[in-house]
Symmetry: C2
Subunit: 146 residues, 2 copies
Amino acid sequence: MTKEISEKKERLKTFMKQKGFKSTRQRDIIASEFLNCEDHVTAEELYKKVSRRHKDIGSTTVYRTLKLLAESGLATARVFADQLTRYEPVSEDEHHDHLICLDCGSIIEFEDPKLERLQERIASDFRFHIVDHKVEFYGYCWDCKK
Amino acid sequence: MTKEISEKKERLKTFMKQKGFKSTRQRDIIASEFLNCEDHVTAEELYKKVSRRHKDIGSTTVYRTLKLLAESGLATARVFADQLTRYEPVSEDEHHDHLICLDCGSIIEFEDPKLERLQERIASDFRFHIVDHKVEFYGYCWDCKK
DNA sequence: AAGGAAATTGAAATTCATTTTCAATATAAA
DNA sequence: TTTATATTGAAAATGAATTTCAATTTCCTT
Ligand SMILES: [Mn+2]
Ligand SMILES: [Mn+2]
Ligand SMILES: [Zn+2]
Ligand SMILES: [Zn+2]
């Protein structure tokens, strides 16, 4: 377990204590498995991974723990075109958007300051106060285009 | 019924004939109701509108007809944060994105050439071939901010 | 017009991800 | 320990959307 991950688990513990939530074996296992897979996983996908070695952990608990991770700020929930709720670990206050391949499903992450600034300009045009945004580009990655 | 709407209904007829689909009273009523409400409606919402005056039309048919309208190019399906599939009439090849108020739910449409160009630049950075995109800004509209 | 193949309809059943319920169990503070 | 409270997993419930199916329509073809 890397330093980053154990530090995150520490943050989770703090969050739970502060909120009056209890630390459990299940939450610990699920959080570890989640933080180790740097993917955009669904609850079911993570449940499959977890239950390979822990057949006693139910999928309901995985759904619940992912929600908890999101509340604690360690995970973000994302919904792409397939309408499944996916979670990804959050690293620092970094924000990014996604390029999604319609063929192989691969997801490329990108960050673009121009895009962020453009958003501000558009918002002010409409006197709108933006608190969040969703930018997804769908198409074909280099490999699939060939 | 405006000229634009009757012209659209004509296009739908052409599309249906060409595909071997049949014209029915239900489809006609549902399409009219849809084209008249310049909104981002869900199937259930449209079903409620339709069934006010046509209690014999079932919701299944509304779901099916909206799909048909999307296939014919007269409607586009959109999914915002509430995860419901919404449809909106398509006018010409015009493309637009959305600002969505988290308080009152109002939707502001906008078009930004800079955004479209930026997308191209980002795509080429990743050698990605974009065919579609989704840009949604969430926040608070002027009225709700007050 | 009438006949008939093929498409459409509405109700009910089904799907599928996610949430809720609930009795049994685990946690942690005293 | 004791005890109050939170958590768990199985099963049931939810809710949007789709599928199934028998009855009805549509629209060619005679
Ligand atoms: Mn990501
Ligand atoms: Mn719109
Ligand atoms: Zn690909
Ligand atoms: Zn508002």
